[in-house]
C-alpha cells in the first residue's frame, strides 16, 4: 500500500496491520492483489519513461558507434567503430577548445552567480518596507525565457543602437566604442553578463529558502555572546546555508555546463569558434550537419562529464554534511 509519504520519499507511515515476515505475498492474498494492481497502474508510466529516456539514451549510444547520417544514404547505418570519437580529437577539431570554453564558462558564471545571488538573498531576507515588491522585481529576469533575454542583451551590446556602449560613453568610461560580440575576449564578457542577469535570481531564490529555515534565536544568542555580524555570517549563516548552497551549486553547474541558448542567440559560437561550447558543438553536429553519429558521440562524452560533476558534488556534499 503506497502512502503519500512513501511516494514523496519520506518515512513510511506506521502500518496498523501486523506485517507479515515474508516480503513476497502469495498469489491470491489481498496484499498480492494490491501489489499486482500497483504494477499494472505504474506500467504506463514506466513504459513512458523507458520510451522517452532509456530508449533515446541507448539509441544514442548505438548511433555514436555508427555512421548515422540520414542525408548520406551510402554510409548511413554502417559501423563506425570509434571513428566518431577519434574525430573529436583529430587535427583541427574544435572539440578540445570547446571543452575548455565550457569549463571556463561554467566556473566563471557559477562563481559570479553564486556570489551575487548570496548577497541578494541576504539583502532580501532582511525585513524592510516593500520587500515583497523588490523580491518580485529581482526574480523577473529568471522568469524571462533565455531566448528573449539573450536577444535583448544582444541588442544592448550592439555598438550602434545598444545601451551598453551608450552608457559607457555617457559616463566617460573606457570601452564606449567596443563591438562587444566581434572580439574573442569581449564577447565572453557580454555572455557572462547576460547569463548572470538571467540566472542569479535562481540562485537567490534557493538561498532565500535556505535562509528562511535558519531560526532567528541563534542570532539572538550570538549577539548576546558578542559575535560581530561578520562572525555571525561566517560561523552561523554560511554553515547552516550549506545544504541550500549545494543545491544551487549543483543545479547551476550542470546547467552552465550544458549552456547553449544564450550562446546560440548572442554570439552563435563566434567570433570564429571562440565561444563554442560542447552543447553548441553537439547542436551543430545534430541539427546543422544532421550527423547523429558524431552528435551522439559528443552527447555521450557530455553525459559522462555531467555524471562526473554530479558525482564529485555528491562526494563533497557527503563529506561536509
Amino acid at each position: 500500500m503506497a502512502t503519500v509519504d512513501e511516494v514523496r520519499g519520506g518515512a513510511p507511515a506506521p502500518d496498523p496491520r501486523p506485517r507479515k515476515k515474508s516480503a513476497k505475498p502469495r498469489r491470491g492474498t489481498l496484499l498480492g492483489q494490491d501489489r499486482r494492481l500497483g504494477y499494472g497502474l505504474t506500467a504506463p508510466a514506466i513504459v513512458l519513461l523507458l520510451g522517452i529516456t532509456a530508449y533515446p539514451l541507448v539509441y544514442n549510444i548505438w548511433n555514436s558507434f555508427h555512421y548515422a547520417v540520414p542525408d548520406i544514404p551510402f554510409i548511413n547505418g554502417k559501423l563506425a567503430g570509434l571513428a566518431n570519437f577519434r574525430r573529436m580529437f583529430s587535427v583541427g577539431s574544435t572539440f578540445m577548445p570547446a571543452l575548455l570554453h565550457t569549463v571556463v564558462f561554467t566556473v566563471v558564471s557559477v562563481v559570479i552567480e553564486v556570489a551575487i545571488g548570496l548577497v541578494l538573498a541576504l539583502a532580501l531576507n532582511k525585513s524592510f518596507r516593500g520587500r515583497g515588491l523588490v523580491r518580485a522585481a529581482v526574480f523577473i529576469p529568471w522568469a524571462v525565457p533565455t531566448v528573449v533575454s539573450a536577444e535583448v542583451w544582444k541588442e544592448m551590446f550592439d555598438p550602434q543602437q545598444g545601451f551598453v556602449d551608450y552608457a559607457l560613453r555617457l559616463l566617460h568610461l573606457p570601452g564606449g566604442t567596443t563591438t562587444w560580440l566581434a572580439n574573442t575576449d569581449t564577447s565572453w564578457v557580454a555572455l557572462f553578463i547576460a547569463d548572470a542577469w538571467k540566472n542569479t535570481p535562481f540562485v537567490a531564490i534557493i538561498l532565500i529558502g535556505g535562509l528562511q529555515v535558519i531560526p532567528a534565536e541563534i542570532y539572538e544568542a550570538a549577539r548576546i555572546d558578542g559575535a560581530s555580524p561578520w562572525r555571525q555570517f561566517r560561523r552561523l549563516t554560511l554553515p547552516l546555508l550549506k545544504p541550500a548552497l549545494m543545491v544551487a551549486l549543483i543545479f547551476r553547474t550542470l546547467s552552465a555546463f550544458l549552456v547553449f541558448d544564450v550562446i546560440y542567440i548572442m554570439s552563435n559560437g563566434g567570433p570564429g569558434t571562440s565561444t563554442e561550447t560542447l552543447a553548441y558543438l553537439d547542436f551543430n553536429a545534430f541539427h546543422v550537419d544532421n550527423d547523429y553519429g558524431y552528435g551522439g558521440a559528443i552527447s555521450l562524452v557530455l553525459i559522462v562529464l555531467c555524471l562526473l560533476i554530479a558525482g564529485a558534488y555528491t562526494r563533497i556534499f557527503r563529506e561536509r554534511a
Binding site: 494492481l37 499494472g40 504506463p44 520510451g51 563566434g270
Partner: protein
Amino acid sequence: MTVLSKAQPGRLARNAAYTAALAALLGTAAACSSSGTPAAQASANAQQTIVFATHGLGAEGQATNAAIAGFEKQYPNIKVQVFNLDASSTNQLTQLEQRFQAGTGLDVVDGDVTWAPQFAAAGYIKNLSSAGFDTSQYFPGQVASAQYNGTLYGVPWYINAEGVYYRTDLVKTAPTSATELVSDAQAAMKSDSALKEGFAWEGDKYEGAVCAFIDFLGGFGGKLDLSNLNTAANQQALQFMYDTIHKDAVTPQAASSWQESNVQSAWESGQTAFALNWPYEYASTLKLASLKSDIGWIPFPSTAGTPAAALGGDDLMVASKSAHQAADVEFVKYLTSVAAEQQRAQTAGDPPGDKSAYNDTLYAAAPYFKAEQAVFADTVSRPSSPVYPQISEVLQTMISSVLAGQSGPSAALSSAQSQIQQIPGYTA
C-alpha cells in the same frame, strides 16, 4: 485507488490498469509506424493546394507573389501556398531537412544550387529527368549543380554570380588587382566623409562567407581543391580577408558577422565605395534615388588573370513525398518559363536560369543584364558533393577563425583539409 482495490479486489480494476498500459504501448507503436507509405497522386486538373517553400526579401518576395498570381490565373484549380524560409541559407537548409525528414508538408522547393545532390542522395526529391525539361536551355554549370549521378533532380530557376559593385563617383576606373581595390577604397574613404567603410562584404559564419572566399580566391589564382587546400594563393586570399578588416581598415570589424543583407544596407545607404554582392543588387541600386551615382559591377579583380565569381542561384525541386507531383511540375514549368523569368528579372533583378530569356525583350526593359554578362562569364561553382553542407561548415569555421584572429591562414587551411577528410561519406 488502494481503497478501490480493497473494495473490489477483482477484475474491474486490474483490467482497467492493463487496458491503460496496452493503450500506451499501442500509442507508441502507432507513432513509430506512420512513415514510408507512398502518397496517392492527385491529377493536375484536380482541385488542390500545393506548398511552395521559398525565400526572398522585398522585391524578390513580391516577384514570387506576382508569379504565383499569374500561375493561379492560368490554373484556377491549383492554389499555391508560400512557405517562407529564413533569410539565412544555413537556416533554410536546416528548415528544409527537418521537413523532408518529417516526410510531408512541402511540394515544390526552392533551394540553393549546392543542395540538389544532397537531397537527391537522401531520396527527398523527385527525379525530373522525364518531366520534360530541356537541359540544353540552361547554363552548363548550373545544370551540373542540379544533377546527381548524371540525373536531373532540379530545374535552374535563376542564376547568380557574386561580383564587386563600385560607385563611379568615388572610383573612376575599375581596379585591376586586390591591392588596387584596397587603395581605391582607402582613397574614397578619405575623400568622402559620409563613407563608413570602403569595401563591404559578408564575413559571418554562413554559406555567404564561402562564396566571398571563392571570389577572393580568384583574385590570387587560388582554387577550392579540397585535397590540396593549403596553397600559397589560398593563404593570400584568406590573408586578404583578414587584412581588409584588421590592417587596411576598409572593412568594419562588424563585417565578420555580416550577411548579405548587412552588405546590402551598407551599400544602399551610401556608406561604402565597394560592396560584394549578387545581381539582385543591380536592380535595387538603379531604383534608389538616394544613391546619386552610377555604378559598375565587375568580378573581383584578379592578378592571376582568372577572376572567379561564385556561382549561386536557385534550383526548383519537387518533393518525392508530395501528393501533387503533376501540379508541382506544372508550377515549376510556369516559374521557369521565359516570360515568368523575364518578369522576375525585371522586378527583382534575378538573372534568368534559361539562356533564351536573354534577348532584346529583356535588354529593352533592363539593359544592365548586358553588363552583367561579364560577371556571369567568370562563374566558378562550389564543390559538388552530397556532403557539401558538411564541407561548407568546415570552410565557414576556417574563414571565421581567421577573421577572428584565432588562427593564421596556413594553419586554418590545413585544419580545414583535415576536418573535411573526417566527414563521413566524403570522398575526394
